[in-house]
């Protein structure tokens, strides 16, 4: 069954179209991640689902029920906000209880529900504190508890980990899936952090300037990004993008990198002599101190470690910059002249003009 259906959502502000024909469908119990830079329209979309903003066009259907004209208090959704949005004049307990006090008349049941969710989120010790007496992590957990306590059938999470430190963010990223799965809730999760998106999503929808750019599983988005922008947004360090023009010779289709020919899938043949962008993920590159036939000479500019990885910034003879990322302990001592080995299976090719990824095999199928 479909937990949430968005059909043809359009929203304009003063002539600017902030959401343009957005169609999304989420299965019950699934987690959908809305990913995109700030200003992409993610938060507006989430607020429409919650009912605090109305769409100009389109339908919002939650578990088969059209939400047109339904007030936010009657939609049965839970929501957590990026800035926590706790009520500063109420204790943590009252903050959490506020979500169910209207429907739950039994004092005992209300108390059980609040205590239960508080234990789950490890804030049962601080329930009588006012928000200003809570640490950032506790505030965030209180906000989450307030969204979860009513066991809503649809849970909206607006970048809930944005304002907590890296360690807490990591902890919550690990804990969240279990919390969400426990209730069988349908979840819409907004984030700008690709790691959160990949870790939590059953389905990722990439939004940019109000339009859906790509929608698919984490693996789809990471391995076959729709365009250069998405390729850059997913991955840390970001993908290397190099301007190339594919050529063809007797051995197949190739691109030139510092006078070396890198042979790519011959199915890219139709794009020969078209300006393209070659995408190489930093973790697919290998460095060596000895030259080989296909390796590209380069000089080490800087070595910058990045969580358990060694990221090396290289400059090729042709002046191109390349990042290489390897597990920590592999390339730390490199300096001066090195050679880059590119595995031709892991490269991607994009159209320089449109930025769209060129799919060799799709083209084959068409041909």
């Amino acid at each position: 069954m479909s937990g949430l259906d968005l059909r043809g959502i359009v929203k304009r502000y003063k002539g600017d179209t902030v959401l343009d024909d957005v169609n999304i469908s989420v299965q019950t119990g699934e987690t959908l991640v809305l990913f995109g830079p700030s200003g992409a329209g993610k938060t507006v979309l989430l607020r429409m689902i919650a009912g605090v903003i109305d769409p100009d066009e389109g339908q919002i259907i939650v578990h088969g029920r059209d939400m047109q004209g339904v007030d936010p208090e009657d939609r049965g959704v839970g929501m957590a906000f990026q800035n926590f949005a706790l009520y500063p004049h109420m204790t943590a307990y009252r903050n959490i209880a506020s979500s169910i006090e209207v429907t739950e008349k039994s004092k005992q049941k209300l108390d059980d529900a609040v205590q239960g969710v508080a234990r789950l989120l490890k804030i049962d010790q601080v329930l009588d504190h006012a928000p200003r007496a809570l640490s950032n992590g506790q505030k965030q957990r209180t906000a989450l508890a307030r969204a979860l306590v009513g066991s809503p059938s649809l849970l909206l999470l607006d970048d809930p980990l944005r304002n907590v430190d890296a360690k807490l963010r990591f902890e919550m990223r690990i804990e969240l899936p279990a919390l969400l799965a426990r209730q069988g809730t349908t979840v819409v999760y907004v984030t700008q952090d690709y790691k959160e998106a990949m870790a939590l999503a059953d389905q990722i929808v990439v939004l940019n300037t109000g339009r859906i750019q790509q929608s698919g599983t984490p693996a789809d988005v990471y391995l076959t990004p729709a365009n250069t922008e998405i390729a850059q947004q997913f991955g840390d360090p970001a993908i290397n993008l190099l301007d190339v023009t594919p050529q063809q010779d007797d051995h197949g289709v190739y691109v030139s990198l510092s006078d070396k020919k890198l042979y790519i899938d011959s199915a890219f043949g139709p794009w020969c002599n078209t300006p393209c962008v070659l995408g190489i993920r930093p973790e697919t590159l290998r460095l060596s101190t000895v030259a080989s036939a296909a390796s590209i000479p380069a000089s080490v500019e800087a070595v910058t470690p990045l969580n358990e990885k060694t990221v090396t910034l290289l400059r090729t003879a042709g002046g191109r910059e390349l990042l290489v990322s390897r597990p920590a302990g592999t390339d730390e001592d490199l300096s001066g002249q090195v050679f880059i080995e590119v595995s031709n299976e892991s490269v991607m090719l994009f159209d320089k003009r449109t930025g769209s990824r060129l799919d060799a095999h799709q083209q084959e199928a068409v041909a």
């Binding site: 607020r47 919650a50 009912g51 605090v52 007030d71 936010p72 208090e73 939609r75 959704v77 839970g78 929501m79 906000f81 990026q82 800035n83 949005a85 706790l86 009520y87 500063p88 004049h89 506020s98 979500s99 169910i100 006090e101 209207v102 429907t103 928000p131 200003r132 307030r146 009513g150």
Partner: protein
């Protein structure tokens, strides 16, 4: 650096003392005057040494003013009561009307909301003297002239724009998300207004209410023209101290002390809320 900062702190202390002396002197002098007779007040050179007397206060409270020429009745206590009634009534009315209006202006931006808010503020642009004449005529025709209701109605015009504009700013400062969260939690817009918006804007409402009260309390010209003797506030009533046999400085001083007391008490009481508001504000975001 240490020596520097020592000199600095001395200079700062002296500067603060001078400022305090400058601003507080009139008030202290008035308080001293209220405990003296006209003779000791007017002696030359003036002195802070005198025999304190409560005659001035006694005269105000009993309503019998003894001058060296004659004894006359004054209605100071009644004036004080009128001031309280008019100011409290006006501020209460302005709050009842102004706070919801301010919320509406802050949250529901329509094409004309800015114009309407500005129009309300413009009530305060016109010099009171210009408004007075037509107002007097209307009031006489409507039968509002010389009634408490009519006076409160006019006073409320002084308070409303003030409350509207100050409180609107406070409502705008409350994160919309906090209210959204409460609505999504199953509460109607009205209970969101009552339970979230009003308490969070509380310090602003208190500040605006206090300011409006002071403005209403100190109003002179409307009451002078629109109210007869038995409905006059202290500001107008104080004219009675200018008698045929001279100006009663001692009683005027005592009257001033008595008439600033309610405002002062209110300000001290409201301060608690104002400070609380500042610490709540720190939690935002």
């Amino acid at each position: 650096m240490r020596e520097n900062s020592l000199i600095e702190s001395w200079l700062r202390g002296i500067a603060i003392a001078v400022v305090i002396l400058f601003f507080m002197f009139p008030i202290v002098w008035i308080i001293l005057m209220s405990f003296q007779t006209n003779e000791t007040i007017l002696r030359i050179p003036p002195s802070v040494v005198f025999e304190p007397t409560l005659d001035n206060y006694r005269a105000l409270i009993t309503g019998k003013l003894e001058t060296n020429a004659a004894s006359l009745d004054i209605a100071f206590m009644r004036n004080l009561g009128n001031s309280v009634l008019l100011s409290v009534g006006a501020v209460a009315l302005a709050l009842i009307l102004g706070v919801p209006a301010a919320y509406s202006f802050a949250r529901h931006k329509t094409r004309f909301s800015e114009d309407i808010a500005f129009t309300l503020l413009s009530f305060r642009f016109a010099p009171p003297l210009l408004v007075l004449l037509p107002l007097t005529i209307y009031f006489q025709k409507l039968g509002l002239s010389d009634t408490y209701f009519g006076l409160i109605w006019v006073y409320q015009l002084i308070c409303l724009p003030l409350i509207l504009w100050i409180v609107r700013g406070y409502f705008e400062d409350i994160s919309e998300d906090v209210e959204y969260a409460y609505r999504i939690g199953g509460h109607s817009w009205f209970s969101t207004f009552r339970k979230i918006a009003v308490p969070l804007a509380g310090p602003g409402i208190a500040a605006a209410g206090l300011l409006a009260f002071i403005f209403a309390w100190n109003n002179f010209i409307f009451a002078l023209v629109l109210a007869s003797a038995d409905k006059q506030p202290v500001t107008v009533g104080a004219l009675a101290f200018v008698t045929a046999s001279g100006i009663q400085y001692g009683q005027i001083a005592a009257a001033i002390v008595l008439s600033i007391t309610p405002t002062l008490l209110l300000a001290l009481y409201a301060q608690k809320y104002l400070v609380e508001g500042l610490s709540l504000g720190a939690v935002k975001g």
